[in-house]
Amino acid sequence: MTLLLQIAAFALGTYLSIRMIVALHGIADLWFMIDKAWPRVLTGVFAWGAVIGVVAWLMDEAYRTALAWGLLTYLVFYLSLLPLARLYFASRRTDRQSFED
């Protein structure tokens, strides 16, 4: 049962990580109109931050660790996507192949 709950906590951490990343993306996405959009952006960031904090505070130590792993795993995964995509695309770019080929 504990293991199942830990898995659930991990999944919840992943979900909350996704929502937090989306909320943080709002800063860049709405930067061009940040003078008007800042309440919406900050509300998103603080609301999801608060949810993470409250959920973590309510949990027992064992589940809190699983939640933190969920949060961290998706964050690392997400941050690695761009450099991985860069490597992949750079290796496949046809214009960088030798002309003689």
Binding site: I18, I21, T94, D95, S98
Partner: protein
């Protein structure tokens, strides 16, 4: 004369071994009374004599067994010796003497064309197209050098590689050289005694333009096009092109570039009078009769006289031959081809396919979907043919495929991975404001103006992978990808509407999702309308716009003080929409900011009609309101609906979601095109530099290079002589492919979805896909290019090969639309539904089967078009 140099009239069809294919052909025509310009042939024996003098025989014989790594060096060595060493004295004297006689017979100084005429040109399937040298405007002083260069071109990398590929012995080929007087033509062109695209032998095609013919053959100008009945030479269709450039026959003092702008007054004028057109067609048919097979004839008109420059059999490669040597199963990528049917130029195609994709492949410049690569992971029992059919039709209905249980686990894994990677994107783009991509414009301007960024890097940064500091850079791509969700939302909407209100009108979903609020291309249409309103306010501006061709109108407006306000607003419009263009996915297409005359053409079109676009929008809004009332009344009868109205709310919510994602999809395209505009600026800047350095000679040539060739040119590792023939060959191939159009599928024998044109009770019935409901009867107007054929009288039926946002103003004038390619979701269908007019898309060869002035009945419910009466019969 000896057999080293012969007068053209001394050779005939049987002398191909001596005079080469081209020389023998021209001699044959001249002997038989055809008006071929005089000249002489430096025969293949002369080439053999030169090789002997250079002692190259043994080296040539050894070439076939040479190791590949030595090939480049040996070939270059042979070419250098042929081009640089002097001809034997006796041979040089013979050539110069023949040239002297040519001048003497004409009684005035002339310039000559020096053309290769290889003896292997008649070797079965080997065409040697564009591989051997041709030189124009050659004077006596350069004659011997050009003859040597023709011989040297037998040893160009392309020619050697071509012979190696086709198993032709290097030592077996020989070359004659034809030296002919150049005709200083006022008009020139090509004609075909059978339709080279359809293969029809009932037609004669004539293409003509001002000046020398090189510009047409190389595709630097779009010529006037005439289709004549072979039987009586009656003009079946004619299209006068906007001929912007011409190759001048004579150079003015101080002028060194032959390609020049056509004077405004001549650009849209017919280049052939009816008499000359008939003369051209008659001589072309005489050539066909003489050789006993359809001919492709190059000709010129000088001082009203017709000259035959070349006649050769038409090599008809049908559309079905395209991609025959390619393995796999492919279907055209419809979202691109429904916006323009031409293949991409090499540079544009190369940049768009910079990162090879698993699903897409560029074949002859058209983008195809790899059906097998897509079919493999799909959890359905579906054949490649059915999938291709579905991908090409893009219907609003879901396909009825059976689920393949064995594929489900793999798909679940793939789906989960897709979700994990894209979930952030899907959530980010759920509710973006309309102006979400505004900052992309600033990024495009920054990158477009940066001299250190090349086109390939710009393409990647603007459309694919952002730098960390420019997170907006790939937003158009991401928004576009995530907006595909509208298809699933549309299915949900359709399902709930049909479940709860099964008898509601057939196009209910389309009406519920209509509305162009926040759609940038619709705002662009409104912007053009606002300019028309401004022009209407000022009688002088209106008069200029209506009386003059757009280019001339623009010049006059700039001179008129009355037009200041109009021009100020035009500049404002261009600042926002100037990156758009006709055929805007193609980098080669000039943007509106470069050529605002196209916008003036659209404004002019608006000036000719009474109705404002707002009327269409109002009509659509009213229809939506009536439908919602109708739905509400129908839903009231269902349990609990009167109390909570949940079903109605769900329907309206689903419709709002579809509208939102459709809007984001359309807007992302607006910014995509902006990114392409920035890349074009970079390409044009490089083109300017290369032209200044003499590495490119003609505008637009750059678009016929590959990205890595461009890099090599910039680095100085390639020069003009290395790319000249390649560019020329690619231009010719591009024109041929444009005329032919793409095959829908490659490697798949897809059954035609619609029956071919049939005759019924004296009318011709064409079938297509219904895209907007309603029925309409009216006179047809075939428009192939909205920048040229801008006039569409109110109520006429628009018949078009494809449409994109540049065509939108024409929809306002039209009573109905018939389009050759497209789908329910294509631009034509979407705009037609928005404007409440019937529209049928995917009507094969509509622009050829329907002629201007024909009376047609369009049924947008059944997807049929009936030609009731042809022009003249009505």
């Amino acid at each position: 004369m000896t057999s080293l140099v012969l007068s053209l009239d001394e050779v005939g069809a049987t002398h191909a071994n001596l005079a080469g294919g081209k020389g023998a052909n021209l001699g044959e025509l001249l002997r038989n009374g055809f008006p071929v310009p005089p000249g002489f042939v430096v025969c293949a024996d002369a080439y053999a004599r030169f090789l002997e003098a250079l002692d190259l025989g043994a080296e040539l014989r050894a070439l076939d067994s040479a190791p590949p790594e030595e090939m480049v060096e040996r070939r270059s060595g042979i070419r250098a010796r042929l081009e640089n060493e002097d001809l034997p004295r006796e041979l040089a004297d013979l050539i110069l003497a023949a040239h002297g006689r040519l001048i003497e017979n004409r009684g005035r100084p002339i310039v000559c064309a020096v053309r290769s005429s290889a003896t292997a040109e008649d070797l079965g399937a080997a065409s040697f197209a564009g591989q051997h040298g041709t030189y124009y405007y050659v004077e006596a002083a350069q004659l011997l050098q050009k003859v040597r260069q023709c011989w040297g071109s037998l040893w160009s990398p392309e020619a050697v590689s071509y012979r190696a590929t086709h198993g032709i012995d290097h030592a077996s080929v020989s070359m004659a050289v034809v030296v002919q007087e150049m005709i200083a033509s006022e008009v020139s062109g090509v004609s075909f005694t059978a339709n080279p695209v359809s293969g029809s032998r009932d037609e004669v095609i004539v293409e003509s333009s001002w000046g020398m013919g090189a510009a047409i053959v190389d595709g630097r100008v779009t010529p006037d096009n005439y289709v004549l009945e072979r039987a009586d030479l009656r003009v079946r269709t004619q299209r006068v092109a906007d001929k912007r450039l011409m190759v001048a026959a004579r150079l003015e003092a101080g002028q060194n570039a032959r390609l020049e702008e056509v004077p405004n007054a001549m650009r849209r004028r017919e280049s052939l009078t009816p008499d000359l057109l008939r003369t051209v067609a008659q001589w072309s048919l005489k050539c066909a009769a003489h050789f006993g097979k359809p001919q492709d004839v190059e000709w010129a008109i000088c001082d009203g006289c017709f000259y035959l420059l070349q006649s050769r059999p038409i090599t008809v490669m049908g559309r079905e031959d395209i991609g025959r040597d390619i393995k796999g199963k492919y279907v055209l990528f419809k979202p691109l081809v429904e916006n323009f049917t031409d293949p991409f130029t090499p540079l544009a195609g190369n940049l768009l396919m910079l990162i090879p994709s698993l699903l897409f492949r560029s074949i002859h410049g058209w983008i195809y979907v790899d059906v097998e690569a897509l079919r493999r992971p799909l959890p359905f029992k579906v054949s490649a043919e059915s999938l291709a059919d579905y991908l090409y039709s893009i219907s609003k209905d879901a396909p009825a495929w059976k689920v393949s249980v064995s594929k489900l686990p793999a798909l679940l894994v793939l789906g989960f991975m897709f979700f994990i990677v894209n979930v952030v994107l899907l959530l980010r783009t759920r509710n973006l404001p309309d102006r979400a991509l505004d900052s992309y414009r600033a990024l495009c301007e920054k990158i477009g103006a940066d001299p250190l960024i090349g086109p390939a890097d710009a393409m990647v940064r603007l459309l694919l992978l952002p730098k960390l500091r420019d997170p907006v850079a790939n937003m158009p791509l991401l928004v576009n990808l995530s907006a595909v969700r509208y298809i699933a939302r549309m299915r949900v909407l359709r399902r709930v509407v049909r479940r709860w209100a099964p008898d509601v009108r057939a196009d209910a979903e389309a009406i519920l999702c209509s509305g162009s609020e926040g759609v940038l291309s619709a705002e662009m249409g409104r912007g053009i309308w606002a300019l028309a309103v401004e022009a209407n306010r000022n009688a002088r501006v209106r008069g200029i716009l209506l009386a003059q061709a757009p280019e001339r109108a623009l010049a006059e407006l700039r001179l008129s003080t009355d037009a200041r306000e109009f021009l100020r607003r035009l500049d404002g419009f261009l600042a926002k929409n100037g990156h758009r263009a006709i055929k805007e996915w193609e980098l080669r297409s000039p943007r509106w900011e470069e050529n605002p005359a196209v916008v003036l053409g659209m404004i002019r079109n608006y000036l000719l009609i009474e109705a404002a676009p707002a009327i269409h929008e109002q009509k659509a809004a009213e229809a939506r309101a009536v439908l919602i009332d109708d739905l509400r009344a129908r839903l009231q009868a269902l349990p609990l609906e009167r109390a909570f109205g949940l079903r109605q709310r769900l329907i309206l919510f689903a419709a709002e979601r579809v509208r939102y994602f459709q809007k984001m999809r359309e807007n992302s395209r607006f910014y995509y095109i902006m990114g392409l505009g920035a890349v074009r600026k970079i390409v044009l800047r490089i083109e300017g530099e290369l032209m200044r350095q003499g590495k490119l000679k003609c505008k637009d040539d750059i678009f016929f290079l590959q990205v890595n060739e461009l890099t090599e040119l910039q680095a100085g590792r390639l020069g003009w002589l290395d790319v000249e023939d390649t560019i020329r060959e690619r231009r010719i191939e591009h024109i041929r492919l444009c005329k032919m159009g793409p095959p829908k599928t490659i490697g798949i024998d897809m059954r035609e979805k619609y029956a071919p044109a049939t005759q019924h009770e004296g009318t011709t019935l064409l079938q297509g896909q219904p895209a907007s409901p309603g029925a309409y009867e009216g006179r047809a107007r075939v428009i192939l290019d909205p920048s040229i054929d801008v006039e569409l009288s109110p109520g006429e039926v628009l018949v078009a090969p494809y449409t994109d946002p540049a065509w939108t103003p024409l929809f306002l004038t039209a009573g109905a639309a018939v389009v050759e390619v497209g789908s329910y979701l294509s631009h034509a269908g979407t705009v037609a539904r928005e404007f409440g007019m019937p529209c049928v898309v995917d009507v094969a060869e509509a622009t050829q089967k329907i002629r201007n002035g024909d009376r047609v009945a369009v049924d947008g419910d059944l997807g049929s078009v009936r030609i009731l009466a042809h022009r003249g019969d009505a």
